[in-house]
Symmetry: C2
Subunit: 391 residues, 2 copies
């Protein structure tokens, strides 16, 4: 199919299924991913992932993270970072150890078991954020803890991915990791000091331009640029986009028309393509792997992440329900985990059967977590944001 009709049909089916799922009381993203699975190679085979759809999906993830950053206040985010560290750390260690141990018990080799552990340890910041937005929980204390943990988790994930690549390429692992960490720290440090002033200055300058759409273009450009630079510094581009949004939040929130327009661009178009593209990755050949393994790894993925998040959040929240919701919110694995299994397959660290199984586990967590979160948040307790307060 030509690219334009393909994009069009993806957008239409994803929006329709998203609306149906939302009317049933669940986050729309579940319908959007289902639309991708329906149209993609797994079922109908009408649309396949290509470079162009991939670029639209990349922009989708970037504007999702950028607009998420825009919604948050730098100060409230900074306050949640300490809890976020503890949550992210436990939320990575328990799935990493649990996944590796389970791999060994199930009879896989050392390397394959390690790949299982790494895959289960990296949260999808995109899916976590979108679930919170769809459920109007982004700005609550639980939401903020999930977001900051997911950002830090993503940074840890990149380090794990780096060590995996080093393992795959049989390079000296230690020096590589040191360079990675240094570059990432340098990028975040520069962005939050010099970069912060530069971004705000450029945006304010754009408001004086002769062309009306200039501040819109500039906001978009700054989000994309920081994302691309973040990717260049070895971090996932989601992190750069999120931090750019956080930095520009105060300036852009003061222009309500622009703010609304950026949300329309994100949630009315690109973000939907991103979630549908996750569904497009659902594998078509489901013949050669065991249902037992799939179910076991899937339950392990949910249990270890929830336990890790709970353990990390409990000292701060001192409340089992909230801490449990934090753990649940970190359950979706996504972009980075999919890269981990792809890199491992290409490097021969993973069998094709285990690759397909892990891919389904990843997409499974993305589909199921929002449903569990909707259920978890549904009993109204104190500290919950009123829906009218959020988009």
């Amino acid at each position: 199919m030509d690219t334009l009709p393909a994009l069009l049909i993806v957008l239409v089916v994803a929006k329709v299924l998203g609306e149906l799922v939302e009317r049933a009381g669940f986050p729309a993203l579940v319908g959007e991913i289902a639309a991708g699975a329906l149209l993609g190679p797994a079922l109908l085979g009408i649309v396949t992932m290509d470079d162009t759809i991939g670029t639209f999906a990349d922009i989708g993830l970037i504007v999702l993270l950028f607009t998420s950053g825009l919604q948050l206040n730098m100060r409230s985010f900074r306050n949640s970072v300490r809890t976020g560290f503890s949550v992210a750390l436990w939320g990575v260690i328990i799935p990493l150890l649990g996944g590796t141990a389970a791999g060994l018990v199930l009879g896989f080799g050392h390397v394959e078991s390690l790949v299982i552990g790494i895959t289960l340890s990296i949260t999808s910041i995109g899916v976590s954020l979108r679930s919170l937005i769809d459920l109007h929980q982004l700005k609550t204390d639980v939401g903020l803890a999930i977001v900051s943990a997911a950002v830090i988790d993503d940074a840890i994930g990149i380090v794990l991915l780096g060590s995996l690549s080093a393992l795959a390429l049989k390079e000296s692992q230690v020096s590589n990791l040191a360079v990675l960490l240094l570059l990432a720290a340098l990028f975040i440090g520069l962005l939050l000091t010099v970069g912060r002033r530069a971004l705000v200055w450029v945006f304010k300058a754009s408001q004086k331009a002769h062309t009306h759409e200039m501040s819109y273009s500039v906001a978009l450009v700054l989000g994309l640029l920081t994302a691309v630079l973040s990717n260049g510094a070895g971090l996932h581009y989601a992190i750069g986009a999120f931090l750019a949004g956080l930095v520009l939040g105060d300036s852009i929130r003061s222009d309500q028309t622009l703010y609304d327009s950026l949300f329309d661009l994100a949630f009315g178009f690109f973000v939907t393509i991103f979630f549908a593209s996750i569904g497009l990755l659902f594998p078509s050949d489901l013949s050669h792997f065991s249902v037992f393994l799939l179910v076991a790894l899937f339950l392990l993925a949910l249990a270890t992440k929830t336990a890790g998040g709970l353990a990390g959040a409990l000292p701060a929240f001192k409340n089992y329900r909230k801490s449990f919701l934090v753990g649940l919110g970190l359950c979706p694995r996504g972009e980075v985990a999919l890269v981990v299994v792809k890199v491992s397959l290409a490097a021969g660290l993973l069998s094709a059967a285990l690759f397909s199984t892990l891919t389904i586990v990843i997409i499974g967590t993305v589909l199921v977590t929002p449903l569990l979160l909707a259920w978890g948040f549904s009993s109204p307790k104190k500290g919950q944001e009123s829906p009218s307060d959020a988009r």
Copy 2:
């Protein structure tokens, strides 16, 4: 270069040059095309046209035409159609005959001369519209005459392209043309009757959806869908997008936030990529053709279209200056003319040297016409729209 950084650099350079050109008092699109020529193979060679940039450019042309349709009132457009027919007809016949005759005089064969004639006869509706928008002249009597003539011209152009393809493929020309015309007439007829009600109904239904961005998505989907269908019916997709905008104008104009948001999407992002992509097509190898031929064909392109437009508009306007401006407004050749020379080159109807020459002539008219129009409209006369009235 990766696609995302390439898109980003195109957007940044195009916006900066567009702003500079606009501050100098000329339409921003000239700067955007220049940005493409600067970054593309003709000069720096940093960015090359690929499928992904092509898809962004296609969407750019579609949203340009769609938002242009949105701005216009169906009734005032309908009133301008009769003048439009006369202008379009003369504006095609004179360049067609003039171009073919000039080709024969300059010593080209019959087929090559005919290709020259066809190339010079098809106006770029995208560039004409954007020039009028940048100059705040879209809704004036001159602007409306140019728009309706450009739409009809585009339909005639598709017929000429069809006959050229038939010539290239040595098929029976007459039956092919009849089918083309019938399909095109059927599409426009259905769109303006049943389709009109259906589009408005779907849009109104979307306003009741649970997701806030739904009416934005639906407006976009309806524009893209009509464009794709129009392309399927043998018309250029620009025509479908324009008519969809015209049909949905009343409904969408009543929601100012949505209307603004669609303009941001168009002029803040996609439309800029479309104009920059025209510059990317500027050929890199300028060694093997004659400056004399280039200048001769370029002047012929401007003279014949202006004369044709003038002849067609004079009976209605009874005013030389306005009729001259109508002719000038039709001078840019673009999307369809580029397809004509590409098809002809591929079919062996055109030498590589003449192909490059015609490509430069086409891009030259796109760069020069907005400057001429800015000069032509600059002496304030009655019937001119006040700039504050338009975006």
